[in-house]
Amino acid sequence: MTTDNETYDIEAGTELTEPVTLTVNGVDHRLDLPGRRLLSDALRHDLRLTGTHVGCEHGVCGACTVLLDGQPVRSCLIFTATVQGCEITTVEGIGDDPAHPSAVQQAFIDSHALQCGFCTPGFITTIEAFLTDHPHPTAEEARAAVSGNLCRCTGYQNIVTAVCRAAELKHEAGGAEECAGCPWDGEQS
């Protein structure tokens, strides 16, 4: 591939990199990355956090959804160099221990809300943020909350059930009232 923008070291045959500082799941990382490195690829290839899945790579499927300062975003539509200084949470940061799944992960197990599991990390991150903002969702709100994520196996009914089940589990654990990461608290009437 030829390029005239000096992003390749022609003699060495390698792409030039820049230092990038990234905070993921509470851990600071210093990486040397090409300018074109997408956040989804930095997470998977450079940090080996392969819980974040990459489906369509143009923002439609939602599989790569991660939390950026607590809010869900598509990691395939973000250049890594543009989110230095932000707090990134991946599905590993929500629950990385099969013996102790998060409330949302447990709800997915309870409700049979996954089959192949490819889309699941994007749902888990999306629902985690949604329940922080909406601790008492109706089924209709739950359905709207996951409308930006595609699943080709389950048909969505069990996923909607899992959203409501996760809200229950969070209440049972007493965690839903502790809304620490919601930047909108106090601003809404």
Binding site: D4, T7, Y8, E18, G59, F79, T82, G148
Partner: protein
């Protein structure tokens, strides 16, 4: 797919960003939230050698409500504008429309001013800028200029902005007293680009319609405003059904939809008429109600 190689610049001041854009020239592209730009880069429909990221610039993050307009800085995300109580109180049409812009995960990162600079005829916010008689301010090393929406958009994905200009803010004009607004669109899936969409602003004073204007999504090449005032002025709002046919006819003559794999031009034309009639009915009969989408997905 991955973007072609590029250099990503992260300036920390507006002056530095403007200098970079000026020095690099047409190989540089401004990026804010990137929710329209990055798909284009990932699919390699565009291969700029340099990106100038403006999300690290100081300022440009405010929503200012004035007597005449709601001013939105270049770093304000769709989501922040959608959830701003002050912006909603001053210009409900902003939230009414923003809840239809893609999905929350896109709105969390995408900026309203960025979508205006992108100038996609399928985008909602360029149309809203035009419908509200809004303006934008662009800056470059040569100085600052303010452009009316009508002068900004020249074609699909095309504006009069120079490659080294940054759109620093957009001003959405506020409507006169008594104006009721609504937005509606039809998409094949929630959050998809609309097959067709429309927004209506109709002023009702003492039960009588006065001014009315309508804007469209996905069925015109550039955001244009259709003035309906002469059709509705002086008529009783609860008798709007009497002029609905004329409004639909005017809409059909105004729009210029294209066929694609999702819908034929004829279908989009018919659909836009249906949406226009629905908006007129909803806004003129009884108390203007919040749309269900707005209630469901807006502030809670």
């Amino acid at each position: 797919m991955k973007p072609a190689p590029l250099t990503c610049h992260s300036p920390t001041s507006l002056d530095e960003a403007l200098r970079l854009l000026h020095d690099i020239g047409s190989e540089a592209k401004v990026i804010a939230g990137g929710q329209s730009l990055v798909p284009v880069l990932n699919m390699r429909l565009a291969t700029p050698g340099h990106l100038v990221d403006i999300t690290g610039l100081p300022g440009l993050d405010e929503i200012r409500v004035g007597a005449e307009a709601v001013e939105v800085g270049a770093r304000v995300t769709h989501r922040q504008l959608e959830r701003s109580p002050a912006a909603y109180a001053a210009l409900p049409l902003l939230r009414q429309t923003l809840v239809n812009v893609a999905h929350p995960a896109i709105r969390n990162r995408g900026t309203t001013v960025g979508s205006i600079a992108h100038a996609d005829p399928n985008g909602e916010m360029p149309m809203i800028l035009a419908l509200t008689g809004g303006t934008v301010t662009a800056v470059s090393v040569r100085g600052e200029r303010t452009l009316a929406a009508a002068d900004l958009f020249v074609g699909p994905l095309e504006t009069v902005l120079e490659p080294d200009e940054i759109l620093v803010c957009a001003r959405f004009g506020r409507f006169p007293e008594g104006t009721r607004t609504g937005f509606t669109e039809l998409a094949r899936r929630s959050g998809d680009y609309a097959l067709a969409g429309a927004a209506l602003a109709v002023q009702v004073i003492a039960g009588q319609m006065q001014q009315a204007r309508m804007g469209f999504v996905s069925v015109t090449e550039v955001p244009t405003v259709l003035d309906l005032t002469d059709l509705v002025a002086g008529r009783a709002a609860d008798q709007s059904a009497a002029v609905a046919e004329a409004v639909v006819e005017r809409v059909h003559a105004h729009i210029d939809p294209e066929s694609d794999i999702h819908a034929t031009a004829e279908y989009r034309r018919h659909l836009t008429g249906v949406l226009a009639r629905r908006l007129l009915t909803d806004l003129t009969t009884g108390e203007p109600a919040r749309t269900s989408e707005e209630a469901l997905r807006g502030a809670s």
